[in-house]
Subunit: 303 residues, 2 copies
Amino acid sequence: MTRKVISYKDGHVYEFAPNMEPIYTAKDGESITFETIDSLNKAVQSDSDLMDAIPEEVNAATGPVAVEGATPGDVLKVEIEDVRLNEEQGRVITAPEFGLLQDHEDIEHPATRVTEITKGSESLLFKDLEVPINPIIGTIGVATSEETITTLIPHNHGGNLDTTDMTTGTIAYFPVFQEGAMLAMGDSKAAMADGEMCGTGAEIGTDIDVTVSVIKDAAVDLERPLVDTGDAWKTIASAETMEDAVEMANEDLIKLLALEHDYSLTDAYLFSSLVGGLEISQVVDPLVTARNSVPSEYFSDPF
Amino acid sequence: MTRKVISYKDGHVYEFAPNMEPIYTAKDGESITFETIDSLNKAVQSDSDLMDAIPEEVNAATGPVAVEGATPGDVLKVEIEDVRLNEEQGRVITAPEFGLLQDHEDIEHPATRVTEITKGSESLLFKDLEVPINPIIGTIGVATSEETITTLIPHNHGGNLDTTDMTTGTIAYFPVFQEGAMLAMGDSKAAMADGEMCGTGAEIGTDIDVTVSVIKDAAVDLERPLVDTGDAWKTIASAETMEDAVEMANEDLIKLLALEHDYSLTDAYLFSSLVGGLEISQVVDPLVTARNSVPSEYFSDPF
């Protein structure tokens, strides 16, 4: 079977919502490719293209793609097999009223630096410095349970998680809130620091190979995204404050650890303080995102 | 010259203050060993030893040690050469009104789990699970500039940073606020997750080999602790909220990056969003602690 390519030109969204119209329906277990445009819709092509404000329509997410058989209460498994750059430069920007140091008087808002990809696509150039390319998917998620949520915001459905683990080799799991799940993704970066401090990574278009499948009757009641990076399992939670986000991520993790090891929540909590730990995804979106990681040797597939 | 061993029995503090009396004066460049007691002063030796509250006198810091020639405005360089366990079990605990999930109704407060060290000291046992031993120094710091700060609190002088990078092979740098710097340390853990969610790691006594030296006329005005782990340089900041802590850590880092690469702060900020990133040290002490990491290939010794 030829692998289906779904392009942002075929359809993309700026909101995750309960009712989403699929542009393609994939079979359970099908391998497909999402072609994405950079988060700023090609508006920034040189250092003189400045963003005076973050646009209302930002983070175009290619899709949504329905997955046959997915119904509310299921878990959608997304194996991220490859994330390839589909253009030869990225861009890292500041914009007014956006970013961790948005009030710093000596930092320009707006500012743009285009980052050229060197031949062979192994690194990008920031001024004179070479930065290794580690493409990640910034926005990835499914139809929401009730609210309509813009692609600038992360929440339980995924969305703008800006999580460096959403990369080649990771398996991502999402709760299914609506028939067909309705997977969409975009907002890729050629490189991004944990935290995404200035508000962006090196924003770039990508082609993303994934295999999607539906998990029925999961032993775990998945409320939020979960990833298996190969080395570690990580819960992912978004909230108004970092304090709330890390609390949710830790609570999600200890529930999983308790189930895996037949531990009390107290034991799971104490154990969680010894291995892996809390990580920061991003601190700049309207809700911030944190992770709680546990090494794979202490945790197996909960589904 | 025989290496001087400074034991908690010789002297320890529960506060970092502007005026501290040294129990030993080291030469600039001297290699010494700090012998530390566990953070709970041996009060917890079995699972039935419960902490009904966090004691006022917690985190005994062995010292302080004056370093000859250190004067305010200098930087104290502490090469952490080895952190060895000096007892055969650690303990991980919860206590009332302490820890990330202190209000969780299904988690016991207090609770204690003693973690035995397996032979060869390569791992500890948490119930049936083996956890690799990675000894870290939880509390390490110098005399403060003005305030008296208990050893339960982290701040610009260091103190209760609970940072997993304070381990064998790391070089830690502290601002010198008082004559002699007055280095003290304790509160070690045999293992700890980033975040220290339940409020402790596996608390344990250690013997710590360090070499201390004084840096004069530093090009960098160091306000807070900085570490060189060999792989990365990391700024470390403590504040009332994670949001404030990561902002301070990022601002400290971009100042260093700007100096290193002759960048504007804007360029340093944009670059900081592409490599390394924000990390969590601990979210449970009266001030929380975060780091901003940059890989060593982009940063050289600023002193």
